[in-house]
């Protein structure tokens, strides 16, 4: 039962240090604990597919996973943009900064998008914008609610204005979805800033934030440089924003799924949990007899 010493031998790779409290954590334990430090409750940034497995009942069908960006600006600095993308694909095992698809959570069919900070800092370029747009469009066609987990540094510089315009594109698609009764929930995770917080991140019907997440518009460094003073530690945290009235709730990771199931239930007046089968238009289905939570 006794585990190997963290500092020696081949098992060293199995250990990771909590960036907040410095605790050495055995990685399989960390995974079991949903990537939350057992000592200080620091929420590690999660891989998109780990997040998805944590949430969905069993089924998940990805959409738009084959969409990959070109190099519209012909961008090169130290490294050409296509090489940066290639490197991030290898590092993250993802094709882009968001994974979108359909599945069910607690029996409620949903359109689910999960951003991943490991891919270009979760920045929104043309493909992230396109995948999110398609998610809203397909959710609209299928009459299912949509949940997006955000994690993003904002718009992707290397795609210039084409990246910024994804804020407009996703907004227009979301408006169409909501106009037909679409129910949209965001879960803001660490970190959510810039063009993603300033578009669909803060356009949701219900805005949830994961505990301790950094959330804001301008980056912390930008603000510090502008005002030339150091910011308080809790500035731009989920808890800070809750107090300021910008969020509906702050939830610890272990409770996120339960909270989502409850929120989905409130949005399901006239819909029934169907365990992954497509939901019928609300007018055709009587309200559920019994809540699932």
């Amino acid at each position: 039962m006794r585990r190997a010493d963290p500092t020696s031998g081949e098992d060293a790779a199995q250990w990771t240090k909590c960036p907040k409290c410095g605790e050495m954590i055995y990685r399989p334990d960390l995974a079991t604990n949903l990537w939350v430090c057992p000592r200080c409750e620091h929420h590690f940034r999660m891989h998109a597919f780990d997040r998805i497995s944590m949430l969905v009942d069993s089924d998940f069908t990805e959409i738009g996973g084959d969409l990959v960006p070109g190099d519209p600006l012909g961008w090169t600095d130290k490294t050409p943009y296509p090489q940066k993308l290639e490197r991030d694909r290898e590092k993250s095992k993802l094709t882009e900064g968001v994974v979108c698809g359909f599945g069910s959570i607690g029996g409620f069919p949903v359109a689910l998008g999960v951003m991943d900070f490991n891919f270009r800092g979760g920045t929104m370029g043309t493909v992230v914008g396109e995948r999110i747009t398609q998610l809203f469009e397909r959710a609209r066609e299928r009459h299912v609610p949509c949940i997006v987990f955000t994690a993003s540094g904002g718009a992707r510089m290397e795609e210039g204005m084409l990246a910024l315009m994804q804020m407009a594109k996703t907004t227009l698609a979301l408006a169409r979805f909501r106009d037909e009764g679409g129910y949209f929930i965001t879960v803001l995770t660490d970190p959510t800033t810039g063009g993603v917080s300033a578009s669909f991140g803060f356009q949701a019907d219900v805005i949830v934030a994961e505990a301790h997440a950094a959330i804001g518009f301008a980056g912390r460094r930008v603000i510090e440089q502008t005002i030339r003073q150091k910011l308080p530690d809790n500035f731009q945290t989920a808890e800070f924003l809750l107090e300021k009235g910008a969020l509906d709730m702050v939830v610890a990771r272990k409770d996120v799924k339960d909270v989502l199931v409850r929120l989905l239930d409130y949005g399901a007046a006239g819909r029934t949990p169907t365990n992954g089968q497509s939901a019928l238009p609300s007018t055709l289905v009587p309200p559920p007899v019994q809540s699932t939570v």
């Binding site: 718009a155 510089m157 910024l164 227009l172 300033a198 578009s199 731009q236």
Partner: protein
Amino acid sequence: MNVIVEREKGLVELEQRIAALKSQAAQQPVDMSGVIRELEAKYAEIQREVFGRMSAWQRVNMARHPKRPLGSDYVAALDRFDELHGDRHFRDDHAIVGGFAKLRGRRIMVIAQDKGRDTKEKVFRNFGMPSPEGYRKVIRLVDLAVHLGLPLVTFVDTSGADPGIGSEERAQAEAIAQSLYRFAEARVPIVACIIGEGGSGGALALAIADRVMMLEHAVYSVASPEGAAAILWGDAARAEEAAGRLRLTSDDLLEFGIIDEIVPEPLGGAHRDAAGTVALVLDAVDAALANLGKVPLDTLLDRRFAKFRRIGAPA
């Protein structure tokens, strides 16, 4: 220091010499027309050389030229303007000027960003960087325009939304996000004009429009060149390099289908003939509104959606 202002110095000297010679010539019997012609030819040559082909960084500086017409100059040139103030919750943000107006006899709702001209005005207008309450004023004016069926005209000129502590505390991201949403849904024609700097989300928040026009030397960018350089390389001083890569000029953006129209500027920039440039922009806005006014609202909104839907979509 503004690189365009620097380059203009030689030209201004030459201009003064020509003017002096002309007034001298008028008082003296000696024929100086040859000298004057020569100087004028030299002036035109330098002007072409300086402004004929400007780099991205020079365009950024042109867009920030201290004499460039500002949002308020466009508003002042309207037939009539009745300013409306405040977000009804916190305060009136002076970085945004908006209200009822008439353009060539047409009733409109106008919303402009204004950077301020002199130091006192710059401080008053927070250098044209709107705070959340500025965007919330915008939202209120959009709602009012829709309620009364007034077309919306916006003039965009900001280096970006205000990045201060108070703005974060009052949820700048939410204010911009909701402004985008209102423009997406507004059931009235919208014309947006990028007249100076279109800096990031703080600019886009006023620029989801049925017709997006841009002055020839305005710039419109995912982040200010300084901001982009800081994000990419941790060094805002590399702004010129970032400007060169970001494809932020009017020609670039027309090519990408991000803007619909370029309004030309006089050689040397909009400030060389401020009144003329403002009139030209207002003419273009008037023409666009005339066209958009003929389109049924459902079609207008479908087209608005389709226009932005295409950007960055797979071929």
